[in-house]
Structure formats: C-alpha cells, structure tokens
Symmetry: C2
Subunit: 229 residues, 2 copies
C-alpha cells in the first residue's frame, strides 16, 4: 500500500564485537572480577524503605563479589537505591525482585539455599560462629520492623551480630557490611578462595560484562564531539 | 544590700544516689557493657560531611564496645550525626573533637596508639591480615576526597578492605562496620576477650553511666504528672 518511488535496501549493521572494542586492561579487570564472583552466598532484603540503605547494601555486595541480591519489595516504598551511594554498581549485579517472601523462598530453596534471618536476640546463632561452606542466603528486614513474621517462620534459622553496647542493633548498611565481609573473608580463610562460578556461569557473565563495558564506554564518549554527522 | 524581711536557710538537697534509683537489671546491663568496653581500639573520622554516615559509624562503634571516637571536624560541615540513625548512642561514647589532624595525632601518639589510614590501593595492608593486639586507631576520610594528604603523611601505615568487584570503595558506614566488626571479632578469637578497661577506668565509667542512666530515666518520666507541685 506504500506510494511509489525508489526503495532502498538497508545496509546490514556490522555486529558489535565487544572484544575488539575493549582495551586489554579492561578485559583483564572483568576477568579478574569474574574469577572472584559467587552465586552461592547471597543477601535478601525484606521490605526495606530507605534508599540510602538499599544502595549501600548493593555496593557492599558488588564490591565483595556477590553476583546476586534478592529483594522483597515493600508495597509502601519502591525499591529505588540512592544513585549517589550506589555509584552505578547495580548494573553489574543480578538484582532479583519478588512481590512476596514465598516466591523468594521458593526460588532459593529450589537451588539448594539455606535461609537465615537477621534477628536481634541473644539466642540467635552468632554471625561469628557461622560456616559459609554451603549455599547460604542472609535475610535483612525492614529498618523499623525487622524481618516479617512470615520470614521468621519460613527461614532455616536466625542469626545476629553480637551487640556489646547499649545500642541494640546496627544501622542496616552497617549490619549487611559486617555480615558480607565476614562471610567472604571466612571463605577466603577456610576455603582458600572466594569466587566459585562454574565455567559456564563464568563464560555467560563474561559475555554480558564485555557488552556492558562497551555500552558504558559509549556513554562516557557521548559528550565528545561526534566524529561523523 | 538586700532588703529587710525574713531570711530562710535553704534546706540542703539530698545528694543523688544513682545506685538507689536504678533497677538491678539496669545496673547489670551497665556492668555487662563496661566489661566489654575498650579504649585500646578506636576510630578517627577525618572531615566527614554526611550526617547519616557520622551517625551510622558512631552506632557501629558503640554497639561493638568502643568507648572512644575521634573526630577531625570538616570546616565546611559541622559534626552533626543524624539523630534518627544514631538513636542516642552518642551519650555513651567519648567523642573527642579536634580542629586538625596534628592535634588528634598528638593526643593518640601520647597514649601509644598506632595510626592506620584507610586508603583504596592494592599495596595497602589488607584489613584481613591486620593484628589488633596493640593500641590501634583506624582513620576514615571524607566521602569524596578520602583521607587528607596530611593524614597519609602522618600515619604509621595505610590499610584497605580488599575490593573484589567493580566498585572501588565501600560507602563509609559500610567500610567502618567491616573494620570495627573485624577488629572486635579478631580480638575475641585471638585474645579471648573484647573488653580491656583497667579497674580504675571501669569504675570511672560505671559512675558516669549510672548517673546517665538515671538522667535518662528522668527524661522518660518527664511527661508523667508531677508527684508534687
């Protein structure tokens, strides 16, 4: 139904080859990060409401080599990490969002995870006596209310960071950092390594990260004068 | 020079006896906190500007048994920890304020402390290889600029929390938590104890904390109907 006139064939775009667009030093950085990545230790955030906390926890996870963060959304507060604090780390993470704890639990249980909920009580397991040689997810609750009763009922156990002062709890960005750095340093000390991706997982991530790194490069160059009209 | 008329002697007020005004359970809590208190491991905050971070670090310190926090003020940002995050923990701490690093350094050096500045570089000492069996102060710098050149030049060494991802640093509330919990758990594991006040230090603190706890009690009861006009 189109009118007359010439019709032009579109020239096929050359497929992007991320490898050719990345400097070797950048590829080495990506490969090094992947060699220290894990999908067997993770964090679940249960209905957080503070965007500073959301962002600080994500950055702690990314910086320590966690590939996944699981998020049960708070109906009253969208999951919007403060970008000034997150500093763009989220693009390197798998952030999995769930409407409720049941679906989060089902997904992690299907993969063989044990779930431990953070609960401030002296009869909870001390963080410092925990072993991190199996698949473990640590769950942190809402800033004011803690983890939900549903989470407590559906977890394999509770843990706490022993409190030695008058303060009965840590701020959540501090609590998550204490736990993540403890788990990762425990693995390094007791297992001799932190990263544990399979070769297939590593290759899949390498392809994604190469493309992401190229896209980021484009963004960096966006403000430079265009090389062609 | 006062006018005539009767003169009344003032009745001496009975001195406050905090011990008689505190419940035993409260005294036990205070004594337990004191038994886990230390003045031989501390934190220096070098010109922070974010009130959330100031507060979260103070709470981490108090909750982990540190009695002292040292603060070099930022001329452009007063030291005003966010009270929602600090949750009143600062009244149980000795927060020492300095106008510059030189005076902070002098005070800590006179007491035999070694000073380590947090610096994000792979040749810095790893937090995880540090020993905490002597007097150590860890210095954290400004959120954007890090520790000042003066601090770097005047410290005994630099340390870092090994970064294993693309993020090159942690948010400062997360970084301080990783360091404080590491140091305190290291002491518990390697020295068998966390608290190390002398009997004199403990007694001095006990007297202060008893009075503070009574004042806090008064505050709690302030809204109740007065028992006498």
């Amino acid at each position: 139904m189109a009118g007359g006139g010439p019709r032009y064939e579109k020239l096929d775009r050359a497929p992007i080859d991320p490898e050719s667009l990345l400097l070797d030093v950048r590829k080495e950085k990506i490969d090094k990060v992947i060699s220290q990545r894990t999908r067997t230790f993770t964090i679940v955030l249960d209905r957080l409401e503070d965007s500073f906390n959301m962002a600080a926890v994500m950055r702690t996870c990314e910086a320590n080599g966690l590939q996944e963060v699981h998020v049960i959304v708070n109906p009253a507060a969208p999951f919007m990490p403060n970008s000034r604090v997150a500093q763009g780390c989220d693009k390197w993470l798998d952030v999995k969002i769930y409407r409720d704890f049941a679906s989060c639990r089902a997904a992690l249980k299907a993969r063989g995870f044990s779930l431990y909920a953070s609960a401030i009580r002296e009869d909870a397991t001390s963080l410092y006596s925990m072993r991190f040689d199996s698949k473990i997810a640590l769950i942190f609750g809402n800033e004011r209310d803690g983890v939900s009763p549903e989470v407590l009922a559906g977890s394999d156990g509770t843990f706490w960071i022993p409190m030695r002062g008058f303060s009965q709890s840590l701020n959540i960005s501090a609590a998550a950092s204490a736990c993540v750095t403890r788990a990762i340093s425990w693995r390094e000390e007791h297992l001799g390594r932190v990263g544990d991706l399979t070769e297939g997982e590593a290759q899949e991530l390498r392809e994604r990260f190469y493309v992401l790194a190229v896209k980021q490069r484009k963004k960096i160059f966006k403000k430079a004068p265009p090389s062609s009209p």
